[in-house]
Symmetry: C2
Subunit: 335 residues, 2 copies
């Protein structure tokens, strides 16, 4: 039962999609204008990557946080674009690192253009994000650029821990959460903090939004891990049981381990590629051991903590209500 | 005849080496302190990379420019470290892109640790550079961070043009210079500008130093291209004739093309790997056609322009004289 599993779930989803679609219309032209500034030689690879779509959830959160903090959305537009640039920099590089040949039902950038062009295209995006925030100097923009660089470094820390985990025999739940905190939550936290910083919000508001984004990121990762094992291929864009087949050390697997069901040992005991039967057997182990439910519970707890962070401060509507709607949607997503 | 080919050449070299060695002692502990802040999972790869050595020419230029502009070297220390971080980020990523398995007579980072760890290690360095300059806010540091991001984006532009050139049949001298301007000169220019900016120098001084670095970069690239074809393997750390063997579109080759010696066509006419005889024959074509001398002349012109830029403003000694010594050394290098 996710929180979004309520009677009005479909209506909530529709509203959240509308909010994100409206914000995407604001962000996309600014993003395109920024992308036009990088080397023309990279326009092919970057145009291809961004044509793959995306809902701009992070950019949307930045704009909503600025508005909820009492400012005009437009003060946070460069911040929203910068966050989206950093997010896509990480997607492009992570696909190389994880040898993922597909993204959004199409070839990933490196699979389409080669490793070299994909590395340099990602580098251009991360540098562009900094340029965008710094070029018109102000204390708020300097603070935002600093916060963004910190979030990026945290994300890199998470990715490096994720890579190192490949050669480990098991990860504890706490270790899994630390990776998720870096890989996913740091940038969502940064997205929300940037909105507050660019709105010149008081420190407690910025902290509340930063916490909101961090808990939301952990909730998102929990549900993403559930979908990576139990999600339908049509919806996730990945083969069913993909995370198990790749022996990824996700939250459900670490929960099973903690609950006494040693999925790590089972994954390690199969030498070659996992067959459909292996995947089905291990999936059943996770279900029976309560690992799926434990991960969903964690996701719900984190969503509750995220919404609780917003309650700590006074925020402006309708942006506040829209933040709540988007948060529920992101965690309960079935897209 | 390089400018450094004077009677007192050996003495000049010794002085320049001493200046750089003194500055390295200042920079290295600050660099190590900065590196300690990135993810511990990356310490192995980064420690390996930096243990390969390096003279910290760029960091040295930043410190000397701050001092020549009248400030204490220490105001530019974070800038010097940041420049060195960006330089090494580019080395680590470029080695993957160019499939270079060796750097400084050892395996390159990706060859030793794998492509994924090398990508993420480079990403950590570029982000750390921004963090370092932004964390203690001041107008000078914000200006320096902006200038650094601009230089980084220019460098990325140069690298992307270099990659695109691989599928071209030829490059004009102007196109070769545009690539060198991005790949090499942009960061040397940024190194010098950062020293001036962090010294709160007046705009004409910052511009003069920026120009000094840019011309120095082009001079350096010209001599580097000469060494890539005619340099001794013991000194360059690369096999003799390496650039020709890799059919790189360097300045000597583009000069030969412009002078009517079509080395591009000759390089293209050999199907398989170039034999030692092929390399010797093409090298002779470059010599006879005057391409070697044209490249050396360009290098000397650019060095003269670099030193001329320093003459446009009033600078403080001994840093000013030391900048001149280091510039001559960098261009005349036989290390």
């Amino acid at each position: 039962m996710t929180v979004a599993n309520s009677v009005s779930r479909r209506e909530d989803e529709r509203v959240a999609r509308e909010i994100l679609a409206r914000l995407k219309v604001v962000v996309e032209p600014a993003l395109d204008a920024a992308l036009a500034r990088v080397s023309p030689e990279l326009h092919g690879a970057l145009g291809y990557h961004f044509a793959g779509g995306g809902k701009f959830v992070r950019a949307g959160l930045t704009l909503l946080c600025a508005s909820a903090a009492g400012a005009d959305e437009s003060v946070a537009l460069d911040g929203a674009v910068a966050i989206e640039l950093i997010h896509n920099f990480s997607l492009i590089h992570d696909d190389i690192i994880d040898r993922d040949v597909e993204r959004r039902h199409r070839q990933s950038v490196w699979a389409q253009y080669g490793i070299g062009p994909a590395i340099i295209a990602g580098d251009a995006l991360s540098t562009l994000a900094v340029q965008l925030l710094l070029e018109r100097p102000s204390p708020a923009r300097q603070a935002a650029a600093t916060r963004l660089a910190d979030a990026t470094q945290e994300m890199i820390r998470g990715q490096s821990e994720d890579m190192a985990a490949e050669s480990r025999s098991s990860l504890s739940v706490a270790e899994c959460l630390a990776v998720a905190d870096g890989k996913t939550a740091a940038l969502l936290s940064g997205a929300c903090a940037l909105g507050a910083l660019l709105a010149d919000a008081p420190a407690p508001v910025t902290e509340a939004m930063s916490d909101f984004g961090r808990h939301l990121g952990l909730a998102f990762q929990a549900i993403d891990d559930v979908l990576g094992i139990w999600g339908e291929a049509r919806l996730t864009g990945k083969p069913i049981g993909n995370d198990l087949r790749r022996r990824k050390k996700t939250l459900p697997v670490s929960f099973a381990h903690a609950l006494g069901v040693d999925v790590y040992a089972t994954l390690a005991s199969v030498d070659a590629e996992l067959s459909d039967e292996d995947v089905a057997r291990i999936t059943a182990m996770l279900d029976d051991g309560g690992a799926r439910q434990a991960t969903i519970d964690l996701g719900e707890d984190e969503l509750r903590a995220a919404l609780g962070a917003l309650d700590r401060v006074t925020l402006r509507d309708p942006a506040r209500a829209e933040l709540v709607a988007v948060a529920r949607y992101v965690v309960g997503r079935e897209q």
